[in-house]
């Protein structure tokens, strides 16, 4: 048992890497998603069509294939990309596509009269979206957005396959060193659960904060 406790710092290093990847991806994916979703709704056709293509293609691909494409294809053009960068870019592309669709749905669900009222006051497009439409779309955007964030924490485990030492990678390594398979896998599972439980609590808290009296 002592040997397992000795190995815990290695697992925690993995947790740090997993959190790093997840946070970067959620931020990047949210930025892509907000503009992607608005582009899908309000963009001119030359923007809307490629965005639709991006969203539909990425949502049809396994996440792992997206990671491998980003990891293996650029070197064919003499562009070096680290495993860490490939994972962050691929997961962001993936999260961006999903969040685009979430934002599109959420914004489309806001009553048209709200936009009319803001127009009638003389607001131009961006102030109308930021101050009137998006705040009202948030309550329906945040729950699926939270799910996407959890998917990204889980998805960061695929970084193992391009040799990034995140939590699953460290788990595998520690099991090899200690032979305590059951204990270490259960510890890793509990760590993933704890991270995602925190993410879903945070999502629920955010949702309560943006939910005005209806």
């Amino acid at each position: 048992m002592a040997s397992i406790i000795d190995e815990l710092p290695l697992l925690l290093q993995g947790v740090v890497a997993t959190l790093q990847i997840s946070m970067l991806v959620v931020v990047a994916g949210s930025i892509v998603g907000v503009f992607g979703g608005l582009g899908l709704l309000f963009g001119p056709i030359w923007l809307r069509a490629p965005l639709r293509g991006y969203v539909d293609v990425v949502r049809g691909l396994p996440l792992l294939v997206t990671i491998f494409i980003i990891y293996y294809v650029p070197p064919a053009f003499d562009i070096d990309i680290s495993g860490f960068a490939a994972v962050v870019v691929a997961l962001s592309i993936f999260a961006g596509a999903h969040i685009s669709e979430i934002v599109r749905g959420g914004v489309a669900s806001v009553a048209k009269g709200q936009s009319d009222a803001a127009k009638a006051l003389g607001l131009t497009f961006w102030p109308r979206i930021w101050s009137v439409v998006l705040p009202q779309a948030l309550p329906s955007i945040i729950p699926p957005w939270t799910n996407t964030a959890i998917e990204m924490v889980k998805g960061s485990s695929l970084a193992y396959l391009v040799s990034v030492s995140e939590l699953l990678f460290q788990t595998y390594k520690v099991v090899g060193r200690t032979g305590a398979a059951m204990e270490i896998y259960i510890a890793a599972a509990l760590l993933y659960f704890a991270i995602n439980f925190a993410v879903s609590r945070f999502g629920a808290w955010l949702e309560r904060r943006v939910r005005y009296a209806l």
């Binding site: 293609v57 396994p62 792992l64 294939v65 398979a181 896998y185």
Partner: protein, 230 residues
């Protein structure tokens, strides 16, 4: 096309296609077992008895927060290590699965948690009125589940069931991590052998996307075939 040489990949087309078929197979069997798990867990979770509903809820909440790859590693690497040292030989052998069965078991456990939630929503959507109608006819609880709740619910859960199948199919790509020769494994092997990165990943991507959208189209067709609505 694109000034690239596609001959090599064409000559290996069967390997790619069999990889795709293997993925579909594992997803389908995983979905079937996952549905059994999901149904049992859903009924347990909607039960009035806490000793049934609490473990069911724990299973759903725990498993949905785990990466599938961790579950696969646990089943493929962890369980044999532990079983060989802690269990009698014949029991251990039962728990040690080959790659394909590991993926199927992993998908069933993982998908089961999602399917349980889908079925639970389905059970709740059937509503008390139908259940009471069944009870007034003198049906037992199991009979009500079999003849009333399940058929009515089937219509409402069908779209989610289809989406889960597509997700599980895409998740079969993780099987490459334990050397199961499905499409992603075949593609990566082809790439390391030939260095034809672009051709190989293009073919894999197209196969995945076309298959995923084809499944979706078939499911929409099936949904339209069911004419009655709740």
């Amino acid at each position: 096309m694109f000034g690239l040489n596609w001959d090599l990949i064409w000559r290996n087309r069967e390997e790619f296609l069999w990889g795709l078929v293997l993925g579909l197979q594992m997803a389908l069997i995983g979905l079937a077992i996952g549905c059994v798990i999901g149904l049992l867990v859903a009924f347990a979770r909607t039960s009035r008895h806490r000793w049934l509903s609490a473990p069911a809820a724990a299973y759903v909440e725990f498993v949905r927060n785990l990466p599938l790859l961790l579950i696969l590693f646990f089943l493929y690497f962890g369980v044999p290590m532990w079983a060989n040292s802690a269990l009698p030989r014949d029991v251990a052998d039962l728990l040690i699965l080959d790659g394909e069965n590991t993926v199927i078991a992993g998908l069933a456990i993982y998908g089961g948690a999602y399917l349980a939630e889908i079925f639970r929503a389905g059970i709740l959507s059937v509503g008390r009125a139908f259940v009471e109608a069944g009870r007034s006819l003198g049906l037992s609880g199991v009979q009500i589940a079999r003849y009333v709740t399940l058929p009515i619910m089937f219509r409402t859960v069908l779209p989610s069931l289809g989406n889960t199948f597509i997700s599980l199919f895409k998740d079969t790509s993780l099987a490459m991590a334990i050397a199961v020769p499905e499409l992603t494994f075949v593609t990566r092997k082809f790439v390391t052998d030939t260095f034809q990165f672009i051709q190989a990943w293009t073919v894999a991507a197209v196969l995945y996307i076309v298959t995923a959208y084809a499944i979706a189209a078939v499911l929409r067709f099936l949904e339209r075939r069911i004419r009655w609505a709740v």
